[in-house]
Symmetry: C2
Subunit: 353 residues, 2 copies
DNA sequence: ATGAAAGCGCTAACAA
DNA sequence: TTGTTAGCGCTTTCAT
């Protein structure tokens, strides 16, 4: 069995509390310090975080629940989050829920039983009911990428509407008239926002959108392939298309390849995310990129902020100023919205009148 | 505060052990079952896994340490591992160590303090010294992708030598003579194995390898770009090149794009991993693919096997038969080696004599 | 600066 | 089947 502080105490002849205090940065007499260090060395003592967690009622673990681990947009964010949290003494348990509402709830419940100190979630369940337990426990929740109306908590999102709007506007500016979109699924807010941005750009032109130019995919590679094939078949006059996330972009490129379509001569394209992939495409793709690292940073800082200054919960007795608490609560909530940017490639053709 | 079994006991008038037993699948009288269920419901009781872990000395958590979270080869494997482990009641804490030996050690130590029940590691430190603590504690270790000579433990790897060999042989079979490789770094065994396979194929032809055809990258996109540029510049007569991992493949495609090289007319290419990316390339790439899902499955089953039937450790009294222990230990160790396969694209030209 | 003792929430003998 | 009790390894008063 692994050594415990009891063993250290026995070996050094000191008391339990002294060892514990030393381990936690307390002061001990120099001679004792040496004795303790020796004993730790000799017995290969390593602190037992499980026991500590039970006692202190804090595990120094943050749960992270995302739809897909196997998704570079998610992993880029997590990498950034994890880095910062680790530097602040927090570890993360990452749970991939396969874009499944049931699994997402299971993951959150699991994390609750593990008594994580807080949770970061890119939610699949748009109602947020799976997070209620955490909310009630007064543990911090930070949402990524998608907000939940019913659940007031911090969030970091991207200005998806503007992202899509700007991309489509670029098409119009370059003289395109028939611009399609391969959108994401209806139950994901980012997909709807991007579609809304697309529509907005059309409205600005005072034009009616032919429904055949809108394809609803599901943010997968396969749906990107299918979407491209469908759009091309049904709109022989389409000159440009917006691909609304990374998977769809990759799928559409596969479709374009397999149909032998030339970019940008036959079709102009604006993709999404992942600059490396854009550069590897022939010709290099113009893409909308999201600030994944920045998102991660903001998320990490938000949750750290909450962990250090928890919002008072309804359970706390703050009767002396009920009003104050309420307003404070609301005021503290932060919804951070970041901007995307367009990185120019050679997949956009200028159409002269 | 969250409810405990004590609260349940109080509310139901039953004893602690009864509640505990019920929670763990024991039998209780039907009337009591109902009472307990009601109390659980009412108090929103959720088991505290921290306390349970302390008591049972098992956390039902497996630590996973990988070089990069932001790497699709890793995430595909992890996704598969996690799925299986979860179905067996185990959670995973995934730690990305940024391909840094120091951070890797920190991650492993951290997981040790968290008292994870076992560890899965795609090692950066080829000596394996960071894992000694786990080994000594008798906790199962499973290595992915890379073996460590100094540390006898289960592993799941791919036949990298054969993978590269077969790819290069295909070049020779198609009439190529000047075949380059963008290899990985010297401190990663898979990189060396793939390079060895490359060399082996040359030897079979009875040919000497011009050193200028070998570029040592570091498995990053940037090194792929650089490698391609270098190889092309120094070997105007090179007709084919093997790209030895996904990042290098992507990087090389970027280089090829930016230099305006035509595939396969100017240069034939065989890439590595990620079929979707291969399809998105123009023309579709021929690639060596690794069975990531299968790797994950094997890893998960190996560690589950160990968790249920732990290997005797050095700590056990085996001084009476040192020899016996060794052989037993050795016999139990499993080194699983999986095969890759080549998926044909259109990036390979046949050169007629 | 150090030690004794209580207790975090749970499980596991053992008794009843 | 159910209850009592001890204790997992740690932190934390409260004395000394």
């Amino acid at each position: 069995m692994a050594a415990t502080i009891k063993d250290i105490a026995k070996k050094t002849g000191l008391g339990l509390a002294t060892i514990s205090s030393y381990i936690n940065g307390g002061n001990v007499r120099e001679t004792n310090r040496i004795k303790i260090e020796e004993a730790i060395e000799e017995l290969h003592y390593e602190i037992n975080e499980v026991a500590r967690g039970l006692k202190t009622n804090s595990t120094k673990i943050i749960g992270v629940v995302i739809p897909e681990l196997n998704n570079i947009f998610c992993t880029e964010i997590i990498t950034s989050v994890e880095d910062i949290l680790r530097n602040h003494g927090y570890a993360t348990i990452v749970c991939d829920c396969r874009t499944d509402v049931e699994l997402e709830k299971e993951a959150v419940d699991f994390l609750y039983r593990k008594r994580v100190d807080g949770i970061i979630n890119m939610p699949v369940n748009a109602k947020g009911s799976h997070l209620r337990k955490f909310k009630k426990a007064g543990k911090p929740i930070v949402l990524i990428d998608r907000v939940i109306q019913e659940l007031r908590c911090d969030s970091v999102v991207v200005d998806n509407r503007k992202a899509a709007h700007d991309a489509v506007k670029q098409f119009f500016d370059q003289g395109h008239k028939k611009i399609g979109i391969i959108a994401g699924p209806e139950d994901i807010s980012t997909a709807n926002e991007r579609l809304a941005g697309y529509m907005e750009a059309w409205e600005e032109q005072g034009l009616e959108i032919p429904q055949s130019l809108i394809f609803r995919g599901d943010y997968t590679i396969e749906s990107g392939v299918e979407g491209l094939e469908t759009l091309v078949k049904e709109n022989p006059d389409m000159t440009g298309v917006l691909l609304s996330n990374y998977e769809i972009t990759m799928g559409a490129m596969i479709g374009i390849n397999e149909l032998g379509i030339n970019i940008p001569d036959d079709l102009s394209v604006i993709g999404f995310d992942n600059l490396s992939f854009a550069r590897a495409c022939k010709p290099k793709l113009t893409v909308v990129t999201q600030p994944t690292e920045e998102i991660g940073m903001q998320v990490a800082h938000l949750i750290l902020e909450r962990l250090e200054h928890p919002v008072k919960t309804a359970g706390d007795k703050d009767k002396n100023n009920e009003n104050n608490r309420d307003t404070k609560d609301e005021n503290l909530i932060q919804d951070i919205k970041l901007q995307t940017k367009i990185v120019e490639g050679k997949s956009m053709k200028t159409i002269k009148e």
